[in-house]
């Protein structure tokens, strides 16, 4: 094969035209496919990033800064993807074998290229890493300038959340469950504990999660920003985010953000003696006889009381740590954020909680449940419901 001009022209013609004239995969149809895929992705991104539990919809500085970091990463990922994937696709197309093509030059490597694509990514990654570490430390605690930080202890249980305020305001102790009330524009320090298995405390719109690990006392902080929230009171969904057993999917909680005045009013009214009708009084009797060893309705739970319930549970007794039901009627939901609070749902829950929350410890340990069914009379159950909806 000599290098005659004609020979070169012929070889050039061979190498620059495809045998099928490029009909099967012309550049234009590939570009259209690329556009179509991008359009779908754009639609997905836009359509799916609003939501009451979306990390793309932050309502406070912690989730906001975490999202900012994620957005930087997304840009880096997209640019890297387009560049590297683009080169890959280009190589796959450009260097397809032409019919009868000879063995290509047997290149073994390129030292300057190897150095470049080792050193440059290392520098970029180190820069990213240093920035990440700086942000990490900044996010670790509420700003020092905050003059008041509300402290709450959240304890994970199978399958509900306990919230204890050592000092909700004015020295008042509050124990509640599954609904966390906080004032707006106030940093909240949440201590995280568990008495059974590992759970995780996650309010996507307010802060990334931290796990609740038995024997550990973890912590996170968040703050709800009034300029990110349209109207108050506002509710944010929280969910357990560490697999914790049968009803992990049903272990949710709500964070109710309120104006400072409304929050103070709530604190003041917590634990006030409810006014009960006759039926309610009857219900209170039934409740005290059957439910109060696990559920408290008269105010905060003392630590020793909860420890006793945990020990009894582990010993296999007819007892378990259970949600504090003080002021239950002021809550939106029951059964850890999965059912609206109303009489019908309360009835369904009390009659057969296992249907709603498989594996729940109430129907497993409370003696008046046989095979998951409530053996108390309908009259007693109605009375208890009357009592519960009077708790405010």
């Amino acid at each position: 094969m000599g290098f005659t001009p004609l020979g070169s022209a012929r070889r050039a013609a061979e190498f620059t035209s495809r045998e099928d004239g490029g009909a099967t995969n012309p550049p234009r149809s590939r570009f259209i496919k690329f556009l179509a895929i991008s359009a779908v992705l754009l639609v997905l991104t836009v359509a799916c990033s609003q939501g009451d539990r979306s990390t793309w919809n932050p309502a406070g500085p912690v989730a906001g800064q975490q999202l900012q970091m994620f957005n930087v990463l997304v840009w880096i990922m997209v640019v890297t993807f387009v560049l590297v994937e683009g080169v890959l696709v280009y190589a796959a197309i450009r260097f397809r074998a032409r019919p009868g093509q000879e063995r290509p030059p047997q290149v073994h490597g390129n030292m300057p290229l190897e150095i470049a694509w080792t050193v440059i990514p290392t520098i970029l990654i180190m820069a990213l890493g240093i920035w990440s570490v700086i942000e990490l430390w900044q996010l670790d605690k509420p700003p020092a300038s905050a003059d008041y930080v509300l402290e709450v202890t959240a304890t994970g249980h199978q399958w509900w959340f306990e919230f204890e305020y050592a000092d909700a305001g004015g020295g008042k102790t509050i124990t509640t469950a599954n609904e966390l009330r906080v004032p707006v524009d106030t940093p909240v320090w949440v201590w995280l504990e568990s008495d059974d298995v590992i759970h995780s405390f996650w309010i996507p719109r307010l802060a990334g999660k931290v796990d609740m690990i038995p024997t550990h006392r973890n912590r996170l902080w968040f703050q709800a920003d009034s300029n990110e929230i349209e109207t108050l009171p506002a509710t944010f969904l929280g969910q357990c985010a560490e697999f914790c057993g049968l009803s992990h999917a049903l272990m949710k909680f709500e964070v109710t953000v309120m104006e400072q005045d409304d929050y103070d009013a709530w604190v003041a009214s917590y634990g006030q003696k409810p006014s009960l009708s006759a039926k309610g009084e009857q219900g209170q009797k039934v409740f005290n006889a059957n439910c109060s060893s696990c559920h408290t309705t008269s105010g905060p739970d003392a630590a020793a009381l909860v420890d006793g319930r945990v020990a009894g549970f582990l010993a296999g007794g007819n007892i378990a740590p259970a949600p504090n039901l003080t002021d239950l009627a002021t809550r939106q939901k029951i059964a850890a954020g999965i059912l609206d609070l109303n009489e019908d749902n309360l009835r369904d829950w009390l009659k057969n909680p296992n249907d709603i929350k498989p594996g729940n410890w109430m129907s497993a340990r409370a003696p008046f449940y046989k095979d998951g069914e409530n053996t108390l009379s309908d009259e007693d159950i109605s009375a208890v419901i009357e009592y519960l909806i009077s708790l405010k």
Partner: protein
């Protein structure tokens, strides 16, 4: 004495099932691993189908949490330990001796033992299904959920004990391949002339040897907590649940590199063959593999960013995790460099190799986003992580393995696979994989945690979940196409010949399928890509195409004799574990059987009677 020698005599002349049960031939063991692992792939894939059916609609009551939790646990556990690892082991077995010019591995009986331990360990792991007590605490089974009373049934014991048996299988195989690669390379094959797949096998084997003891400790401690009253992870009694996580992930992170390095090795073999030029930057590919292996020990707590380790630990692991992206990137660039300037033939194997790179880029990039601890606190335990896992393990490992199946399949079956069905398989799998897993990035960041058996209608997760479930159906058909292609081609495919791809490795210089003894004459290796050199020399000398090495009479080459003892020992070892679940007496009997097996192994004649 005669009776004793009779009992201990090596089996010989077996055909049929007995020849498979007593085999010590690496090629047969590779086939056993391959078929067993593929069957497990189908089972674990069906478990995924159960989950995707349940999650296709909000508030679905199709599958309850009891079953669902078993599904996600066993799907992942099986995919990791019963599918990807043994598929890699299948390749190690089939390819390593051929690619280094050896006749078998260093310890053929140990090799067989590894397979039987794998089979019996897999059966033990799954035995819980027979009593509706399959493991159900997730594939990494965090304490203290795994303790009693929170996991009161025997499921977690099946998990821990099954994995203990599987671990012995992996470590034995790893030791075997390490010695084989270091000691049994053909003359002329220095370390820097080894095919890259062999390097990846060596690094993976060293990782296996060092990582499995860590999880073994964890599994024994878990078994003791659950059955013998200890408190390693149980808070009441002074234990710490977080200790389990450290033990698991110090194993677990090297484990994920164990899952990806062999398929990376496969891709590094396939790309040069179909680009018709050598692997670009071979020394850098070797060193990046070694660096990844070393650095894999320094990143484990990125799985624990949300466990409250504190900002110092989180900072350290953020940095180390980001740094491990560098050698990974080096590999990707070198693969592209291999294709660059080549003359690429897009056979099915090559499609899967390029698909591997394309999908692994996505999985690797999402991995970099997890490395940043504050961002990770929103991603952790959501479907964003599930998306990452599947891009690297499905788009990565499994695609790489399929590239290898299509590349080396003809070597062992002697038949070419159908290219039409092969390409259909590829496109169904590529499209199906993206439809299933890409939406998961979004639904995760929108607030969907992982390991949930249901989600509410108000959550807004339904659309993307339905999309993922649709993708599953596409993947289902992809596998159907593959099975049809494999079965048809094995029966009626075109003759492959010894070198269908004009490839560089030693394995292509012998017939397809290879004779029992592999090489009649151990080759003198002339360099990296030895067979290309041989063919080039032949071309320059004006000789015709290089033929497969001619067969010789098998009886003139002594090969390791078959043995009963590996399966017997594996059976005994499995009962040591199984007895803890049933009666301790059975553990003792299992130990006795294993002991007898070891004595028999040690005392049996070095070769079968007929060889004397």
């Amino acid at each position: 004495m005669a009776t004793l020698t009779g009992v201990l005599a090596r089996p010989s002349g077996y055909t049929g099932v007995w020849s498979w049960i007593t085999t010590v031939d690496h090629k047969r063991i590779g086939i056993l691993y391959g078929f067993t692992a593929f069957a497990m792939l189908l089972i674990a894939g069906l478990e995924a189908g159960v989950m995707r059916s349940q999650l296709a609609t909000a508030d679905s009551e199709l599958i309850g949490p009891g079953v669902f939790n078993q599904m996600f646990t066993m799907h992942a556990t099986a995919m990791v330990f019963n599918v990807i690892m043994p598929l890699s082991a299948s390749f190690f077995n089939l390819i390593v001796p051929l690619a280094i010019g050896a006749r078998d591995v260093a310890f053929p009986r140990l090799n067989a033992l590894s397979y039987w331990l794998f089979l019996f360990g897999t059966l033990l792991l799954h035995a819980g299904f027979l009593q509706n007590q399959a493991p159900d605490a997730g594939w990494f089974s965090y304490a203290s959920l795994t303790e009693k009373p929170y996991s009161a049934n025997a499921g977690l014991d099946f998990w821990a004990l099954g994995l203990l048996v599987l671990g012995t299988s992996s470590v034995a195989a790893a030791l075997n391949f390490t010695v084989t690669i270091i000691n049994m390379r053909a003359p002329g094959m220095g370390l820097m002339r080894m095919p890259l797949f062999i390097w990846m096998t060596l690094i993976t084997s060293i990782l296996l040897i060092l990582a499995f003891p860590v999880i073994t400790v964890g599994l024994i401690e878990l078994t003791m907590d659950r059955n013998f009253g200890t408190h390693f992870f149980m808070p009441q009694g002074g234990g710490d649940p977080l200790l389990w996580q450290h033990l698991f992930w110090v194993f677990g992170h090297p484990e994920v590199y164990i899952l990806i390095l062999p398929p990376m090795g496969v891709v590094s073999e396939v790309l040069p063959a179909f680009s018709r030029k050598p692997l670009f930057g071979y020394p850098f590919m070797v060193f990046s593999g070694i660096v990844i292996g070393i650095m894999s020990w320094a990143v484990w707590s990125h799985h624990m960013f949300t466990t409250g380790l504190g900002p110092v630990a989180n900072s350290v692991f953020t940095i180390t995790t980001m740094l491990i992206a560098v050698p990974t990137g080096v590999k990707i660039f070198n693969w592209i460099g291999t294709m660059w300037g080549g003359a690429i033939e897009f056979k099915t194997s090559m499609l899967f190799a390029v698909g591997f790179i394309a999908l692994f880029i996505i999985g690797g990039l999402s991995g970099v986003s997890h490395a940043v601890a504050p961002a990770d606190s929103q991603q952790q335990d959501t479907y964003y992580i599930v998306a990452h896992i599947h891009y690297v393990l499905f788009g990565g490992s499994l695609f790489g393995i399929f590239a290898g199946i299509y590349y080396w399949g003809p070597k062992f079956t002697g038949k070419m696979f159908g290219e039409g069905l092969g390409k259909l398989h590829f496109w169904l799998m590529f499209i199906g994989m993206n439809v299933t897993f890409f939406p998961m990035h979004f639904v995760g960041m929108n607030g969907m945690p992982r390991r949930v058996y249901t989600y509410s209608a108000e959550s807004g997760f339904q659309l993307l979940n339905s999309l993922s479930s649709l993708g599953y159906i596409i993947l289902f058909f992809a596998f159907v196409v593959f099975i049809i292609n494999f079965l048809r081609s094995s029966k009626n495919g075109a003759e492959a010949g010894n070198d269908p791809w004009d490839a560089p490795g030693l394995e292509w210089s012998i017939s397809s399928p290879p004779p029992a003894y592999n090489f009649a004459k151990i080759p003198q290796v002339l360099g990296r890509d030895h067979f290309w050199i041989v063919k080039e020399l032949a071309r320059e000398a004006g000789q015709g195409p290089v033929q497969a090495e001619a067969h010789v009479d098998e009886r003139t080459i002594h090969m390791p004799s078959p043995s009963y003892w590996p399966i017997i020992i594996a059976f005994g070892v499995t009962w040591i574990a199984g007895g803890i679940l049933t009666h301790y007496a059975l553990s003792f009997i299992g130990g006795l059987i294993a002991f007898v097996g070891v004595v028999g192994w040690g005392n049996e004649p070095a070769s079968a009677q007929s060889d004397h």
